[in-house]
């Protein structure tokens, strides 16, 4: 597919999410300088960009975990409120979860059934949580302490927690980070199934990896601004190598060059 194809697509259904001019200020610094985003049912959009580009801040503001200082966010045509959260399933970065008391995978997934006007879990919560874990192939871990699971298993549990809500819009923040290959494939399969069922997907990614076939188009952020919307960019040079560590510096590439050309747009 080329970028031109992506631009020519028309949508019969209203967008799952639109963001217009979203600005976010954290700790006295503006992190997002007016970001636009569109997400449609049955499509997956990847939010990409380097470390500190504002990817996570953007999705956190989309789900209401941090306040925006300006801009409009609508969810299925309505301004985003706590009420519209009912249709959203969110998978935060793994580091955001967990506390001082251990909890089982089933308890974590069951908490996904809560929401506006649902301060208590429904009667069939246990069965639904088990079914969601089963969909991701980790039903056998239901009674295990989540902190004792591997990175990939933990990620499957967090995705089960979002999917148990049967969301029409799925928002994921770096779901593939620190995840083993079999789990990556299981996650990609679960997300593809959800997308094919008509759900819209917004996923923050460092690199496309196992999700490449799923992603319809990409929004690239750089220093809190959108620098590219269209076909997914292909990581340049060494960044594309498997197992490459994105956090370390490249002394052989001048910083300005690296930040400008880190993403090669397939056009």
């Amino acid at each position: 597919m080329t970028a031109a194809d992506a631009d020519c697509l028309t949508h019969d259904t209203p967008p799952a999410l639109t963001a217009r001019g979203v600005r976010v200020r954290l700790g006295g610094h503006e992190i997002l300088h007016g970001v636009d985003l569109d997400s449609h049912p049955g499509e997956a959009v990847a939010i990409m960009g380097g470390n500190g580009s504002g990817k996570s801040t953007l999705v956190r503001s989309l789900v209401g975990a941090i306040p925006t200082t300006a801009g409009d966010i609508t969810v299925f045509g309505e301004p985003r409120t706590r009420l519209t959260s009912r249709r959203i399933g969110y998978v935060p970065q793994r580091a955001s979860a967990g506390g001082g008391v251990s909890a089982t995978a089933r308890e974590v997934v069951t908490s996904g059934l809560l929401g506006v006007n649902a301060l208590r879990t429904p009667r069939d919560a246990k069965a639904r949580a088990l079914a969601a874990l089963d969909d991701l192939g980790v039903a056998d871990l239901a009674d295990r302490d989540v902190t004792a699971l591997s990175g990939g298993q933990q990620q499957r549990v967090l995705i089960a927690r979002a999917l148990v809500r049967e969301p029409d819009l799925l928002i994921l923040d770096e779901p593939m980070a620190g995840v083993d290959v079999p789990s990556q494939e299981a996650l990609a399969a679960a997300l593809t199934k959800r997308r094919d069922a008509g759900a819209a997907i917004i996923v923050v990614l460092h690199e496309l990896g196992a999700l490449a076939p799923l992603v319809h188009h990409a929004v690239v952020l750089e220093q809190g601004c959108v620098t590219h919307i269209g076909a997914p960019p292909r990581a340049l040079g060494v960044h594309a190598l498997p197992g490459h560590d994105h956090d370390h510096a490249h002394p052989d590439v001048p910083e300005a060059v690296a930040s400008t050309f880190a993403w090669e747009v397939r056009q």
Binding site: R60, V63, G64, A65, R82, L83, T84, S85, R86, I88, Y90, P92, R94, A95, S96, A97, G98, G99, G100, V101, S102, A103, T104, E107, V108, T110, S111, G112, L114, G115, V116, L119, R120, T121, D143, R144, D145, V146, T147, A148, L149, S150, G151, Q153, Q154, R161, R165, I171, G178
Partner: protein, 306 residues
């Protein structure tokens, strides 16, 4: 023994012990999960200022019983303190430990100042600092029943929602849960727990009764709900044992309960460590440690605070 149990004073002591032992670990479980184990301590110190303020009000109003307003004062101050701590935490005014330190020292200093202004002495505060269950009146018992009922109904009734908020606040926001209100519920429940438990263990040791049973339960189970249930049972057993022993020996009940808790924790922890080592040895010998292979592979990221 039967004589003892028919003694109204002993009945009052045991009733209060059961209620406080069962309810303190409920809020304790949420506080440990949120990694705010010392919140109870911070609120306790503010409650002490409330005790002194109640004392001052009592003496100003020339009440027959000068400390009649001490407990109401403690409740008002503890709840207000909890609300202030939670608002400062939520708004990121200062780091949680700095807020707590301000509450600790501000609370105890104003307590001492207020009690001296009321014409009392620091000795009057001792009962509140270390507990004075043997002076519990029937009024105290009914106040404790009321406070315990609130903790049981809200702390257990909203268990799922309070777990969600203390486990992963970011996810809780995304579900549309009223996160700020639920955080406030945890803080206010902590304040109510502190004032209810103050009578038994005193403000200095109140956190011990909230946290120790949870720490013990944690060694036994990996489920959040079971941790809370086992902690409640442990709390009751600790309180009844501690208070029971003081009926025969002249010991300070609050301190005894906390020391018993530390002993139980140490015993259970060394037992758990021994079991773990034995299992590892067995697995190494039999190469059958598939389950534990995952456990060895722990990912500390999930446990880290956001």
């Amino acid at each position: 023994m039967i004589d003892l149990l028919t003694d109204p004073l002993v009945q009052r002591m045991l009733l209060v012990s059961v209620m406080v032992g069962a309810t303190a670990p409920i809020v304790g479980t949420y506080l440990v999960h949120r990694r705010m184990s010392l919140l109870g301590d911070g609120i306790g110190h503010v409650a002490l200022a409330g005790v002194a303020a109640g004392w001052l009000a009592g003496s100003a109003a020339d009440l027959a019983q000068v400390d009649a307003l001490a407990i109401p004062g403690a409740i008002v101050f503890a709840v207000a303190g909890a609300v202030v701590i939670e608002r400062m935490r939520a708004r990121g005014v200062a780091a949680a430990d700095v807020i707590m330190a301000i509450m600790f020292y501000g609370g105890i200093a104003s307590g001492v100042l207020l009690i001296s202004a009321a014409g009392g002495s620091n000795a009057n505060l001792m009962g509140y600092l270390f507990g004075s269950i043997s002076t519990a009146s029937w009024t105290d018992v009914w106040v404790t029943v009321g406070l315990a009922a609130v903790i049981l109904i809200i702390g257990l009734g909203l268990r799922s929602a309070l777990f969600a908020v203390t486990h992963d606040q970011e996810f809780a926001y995304s579900t549309g849960l009223p996160v700020a209100a639920l955080n406030m519920v945890v803080a206010v429940l902590a304040a109510i727990t502190v004032t209810a438990a103050m009578r038994v263990v005193g403000v200095l040791l109140v956190s011990g009764l909230m946290i120790l049973p949870v720490a013990i339960a944690q060694l036994i189970t990996r489920s959040f709900t079971r941790t809370m249930m086992i902690a409640m049972v442990t709390g009751v057993v600790l309180c009844l044992t501690g208070v029971g022993i003081t009926l025969f020996y002249n010991l300070q009940p609050g301190a005894l309960i906390v020391v018993l808790g530390v002993i139980v924790y140490t015993v259970v922890a060394s037992g758990a460590g021994l079991r773990k080592r034995r299992r590892r040895l067995r697995d190494e010998a039999g190469h059958g440690g598939h389950d534990d292979a995952h456990r060895e592979h722990e990912h500390p990221t999930l446990g880290a605070p956001a």
